[in-house]
């Protein structure tokens, strides 16, 4: 083509008989066989492929949303684990502190207990009393501070706790709340410091 003029071409699908040609020209068409027709792609396949892709995209989106949602959840749970760990540590510290010999001795004395340094034994084989029985003199009386423990500063004795809070009432701030809850369901709070077991 050496020019750029548009031309109307006669479309080759125009089957109308050429008026100039012989009118008896027969119309011939190639008909595809059944198997050929069956083998031809169907729209269904295209649709299902597109739908599949869409599903994959959506699932992927949902998954990533889920994962990042999970990240927030994990982050929140980790934060709460740290917090609970701190609470546990603080409560354990309180417990260990009041389990110290100084604290136990001071509390026992506050409750009126004294240690007897005269051990006396009863021998079961012949009923012999070994040792000289003598009443306890409260040998440690008033001397509980001779072995200091700086951790116990400001920790009240059982007898100094407000009445009715039960013997477990808190030493540290963290322990106070659960202890108060326990006291609600506890049978009967000690009135004179010493809980009396109910014997039947």
């Amino acid at each position: 083509m050496s020019d750029n003029l548009a031309r109307v071409l006669r479309p080759n699908w125009d089957n109308t008989p050429d008026p100039v040609q012989a009118p008896d020209t027969r119309h011939i068409e190639i008909v595809s066989t059944r198997s050929q027709r069956r083998a031809r792609p169907r729209i269904v396949y295209a649709l299902s492929a597109v739908a599949g892709m869409a599903t994959i995209v959506i699932v992927q989106l949902l998954l990533s949303v889920g994962i990042s949602q999970g990240a927030y959840e994990v982050s929140r749970l980790q934060a709460s684990q740290v917090e609970l760990g701190r609470t546990a540590e603080s409560v354990t510290e309180d417990l260990v502190r009041i389990s110290s010999p100084q604290s136990l001795a001071a509390n026992a004395e506050a409750l009126g207990m004294v240690s007897n340094s005269n051990p006396v034994y009863l021998r079961l084989s012949d009923g012999a009393v070994l040792g000289a029985p003598a009443s306890a003199t409260g040998s440690q009386g008033g001397s509980a501070s001779l072995v200091p423990n700086a951790l116990l500063a400001g920790v009240p004795l059982v007898t100094q706790l407000p009445q009715g809070t039960g013997q477990g009432a808190g030493v540290g701030g963290a322990a106070a709340e659960p202890a108060a809850k326990v006291a609600d369901v506890a049978p009967k709070a000690a009135t004179h410091g010493i809980p009396t077991p109910a014997t039947r």
């Binding site: 701190r86 001779l146 072995v147």
Partner: protein
């Protein structure tokens, strides 16, 4: 046409060269970014979104024999602030948004940390005066979780927190002399903390993670750069309850008698384990500065040696018996003053006429002259060998930091007075532990066991390492040890303190000592070191108790230490359910 072709060729060539140059530049840049500077750039990019934080390995605990924690690690928090950012801020409360001024915030923080608001304002202004762009200043160090939470709740934007793993000693001064302490920076400074540092020490690790714009940790992005290693637990042989009782009794008597210091050692006869080692004065490791003198912060039972005095006569008696040169009934005449041929001059503590004493009687009367007459039956070298076999002159196996070995000069260097003085516990020095160990050997049929304070280092998987050796060695024969124990029982029954240290129901073997204290310049002070050492039940010895009180000004004799021995031994026998003695002690004559 020819020129035209040439110029177009040149143009093509130029373009190609230019193209190659550009490509080469890209390649160079690519290599530079991808290979040469890859690590730095990666780190830089990661640094923008990644967070690096230390993972604290926790220092091991120091436990008593029953697993009670004597020293543990807890997390504490340092409160810091950024002085240059200290400004008022708005806080959202139930009542809406409230503006909080710096002074107000400082007062709130001060109330929680036990400071005044003004002192916190002073911290800010002080830091700014030094450096205008100061971004870091301490408000409070090592506050506990409760304070940390309360301050955190204030949500002051220019207050920051740092983790500060700290040491806590739940039992305070109970075994504080043994456990020792660490500095505020976490450096081990004394006692087992120092001596067992290699077991206790932990290594901190580092982990990095990436965070999103909202500060949330990205999933799967945590990388542990180096693993944190927890320290091992040191398991001691100490019983914390008994230790408390012993410290209490010792402190009470030391105060009552005005003693400068005192020690009590309780040791198991059959294992060599120390169940209690009390010192007065002692340190509360939670409050080290509460004990003023640095000397009072350790354990004198390990680190101070003294001339033991008459408690040492048990060793001389056992040596003579073992050598077969005397029996408990061997007879001598003990004068007040004895002048042996070598020029020494030995006298008893108080004047008396010549006494007809057996070896048992010499111990009962605690006669120096009598003991000299028995001691001289052995050669100096023999006595020196017995002393070293009993563990004198070298530190015990407990391996306590700065432990004293005591002074035991080689026998060749003894002068004539020292030759005799070493028979009754002068002219040489021992620690309280070494004295206890002598009695342990006598009580254990002559077998001296290594002094044991630490059972070992227990790791996370439950394995124990550094377990000390427990093999003993026969110092004197079993019969010599048995005879010595019988004689010491006579001392307990007939000695001048018999009424003061009586423990009904038990047979006890014990010996007093009253030794002059060296003044550190070759002479003696006026003070005495009064002591009692012994074991019970004498028929089947279980526990050694050794009490020493230095210079009890109000009661300058072993009568000061006897009540401590009585109370501690009673408690030990009661606590460990020692079976009361059945048969009476064999009666040995003291005189003839």
């Amino acid at each position: 046409m020819a020129t035209n072709t040439r110029s177009s060729r040149r143009r093509i060539a130029g373009t190609i060269v230019l193209l190659f140059a550009i490509i080469a530049m890209f390649v160079v840049k690519l290599v530079d970014i991808q290979i040469v500077r890859a690590d730095t750039l990666n780190a830089e990019s990661l640094g923008n979104r990644s967070v690096e934080q230390p993972v604290y390995g926790s220092r091991g605990d120091i436990l008593d024999a029953n697993g009670v924690v004597l020293a543990g690690t807890v997390m504490r928090y340092n409160i810091t602030l950024s002085p240059r950012n200290a400004a008022e801020f708005t806080r959202t409360t139930d009542a809406g948004e409230v503006t909080v001024t710096v002074a107000q915030a400082a007062a709130e923080v001060g109330a929680l940390t036990g400071k005044t608001g003004d002192s916190i304002l002073a911290i800010i202004s002080g830091a700014l005066a030094k450096d205008k762009s100061s971004d870091y200043a301490f408000v409070a160090k090592a506050v506990d979780v409760d304070v940390f939470r309360a301050v955190d709740k204030l949500e002051i934007p220019w207050i920051y927190f740092e983790k500060n793993p700290s040491r806590v000693y739940p039992d305070g001064a109970v075994a504080g002399n043994l456990v020792g302490f660490v500095s505020s920076g976490g450096e081990a400074q004394a006692g087992l903390e120092l001596g067992q540092d290699s077991c206790l020490a932990s290594t901190n690790g580092i982990e990095t993670y990436e965070k999103g714009a909202d500060g949330v940790r990205l999933p799967q992005s945590t990388v542990t750069t180096s693993q944190a290693q927890n320290g091992g637990d040191v398991v001691t042989t100490i019983d914390s309850d008994l230790q408390w009782y012993v410290q209490q009794v010792l402190a009470k008597q030391a105060k009552a008698t005005g003693a400068a210091w005192g020690t009590v050692v309780v040791q198991e006869v059959k294992t060599g384990k120390l169940v209690a080692v009390a010192d007065y004065p002692s340190v509360d490791p939670n409050n080290v500065n509460g004990t003023e003198k640095a000397d009072d912060r350790g354990s004198r039972a390990f680190t101070a040696s003294f001339e033991p005095g008459s408690t040492f006569k048990a060793l001389t008696a056992a040596s003579v018996l073992d050598a077969g040169l005397a029996t408990p009934g061997s007879k001598i005449v003990a004068p007040y003053r004895y002048l042996p041929p070598n020029g020494a001059n030995v006298n008893d503590s108080s004047g008396h006429a010549d006494l007809n004493l057996t070896l048992t009687g010499v111990l009962i009367e605690s006669s120096n002259t009598g003991m000299s007459k028995f001691g001289e039956l052995l050669s100096d070298q023999q006595r020196y060998d017995y002393m070293t076999k009993f563990g004198l002159g070298k530190a015990t196996e407990a391996q306590f930091p700065a432990e004293d070995s005591g002074i035991l000069h080689a026998w060749e260097n003894w002068d004539s007075q020292t030759k005799y003085a070493t028979m009754f516990g002068q002219g040489l020095t021992t620690t309280a532990l070494q004295v206890s160990s002598i009695y342990q050997a006598i009580g254990n049929n002559g077998v001296r066991l290594p002094v044991q304070l630490v059972e070992g280092c227990r790791h996370a998987d439950g394995t124990m390492t550094e377990v000390p050796a427990t093999a003993g060695n026969q110092v004197v024969s079993a019969s010599a040890a048995r005879d010595t124990a019988d004689m010491l029982e006579m001392v307990y029954q007939k000695g001048w303190l018999a009424a003061k240290w009586n423990i009904p129901g038990y047979r006890v073997a014990a010996k007093t000592g009253t030794a002059q204290m060296p003044d550190g310049h070759g002479g003696y002070t006026h003070g005495y070191l009064v002591s009692v050492s012994g074991f019970a039940p004498a028929d089947d010895p279980e526990y050694v108790v050794s009490v020493s009180l230095a210079d009890p000004v109000k009661l300058n004799s072993s009568a000061a230490s006897a009540p401590v021995f009585q109370e501690v031994m009673s408690q030990v026998l009661k606590k460990y359910r020692a079976v009361p003695s059945g048969a009476a002690a064999p009666a040995l004559p003291g005189t003839w």
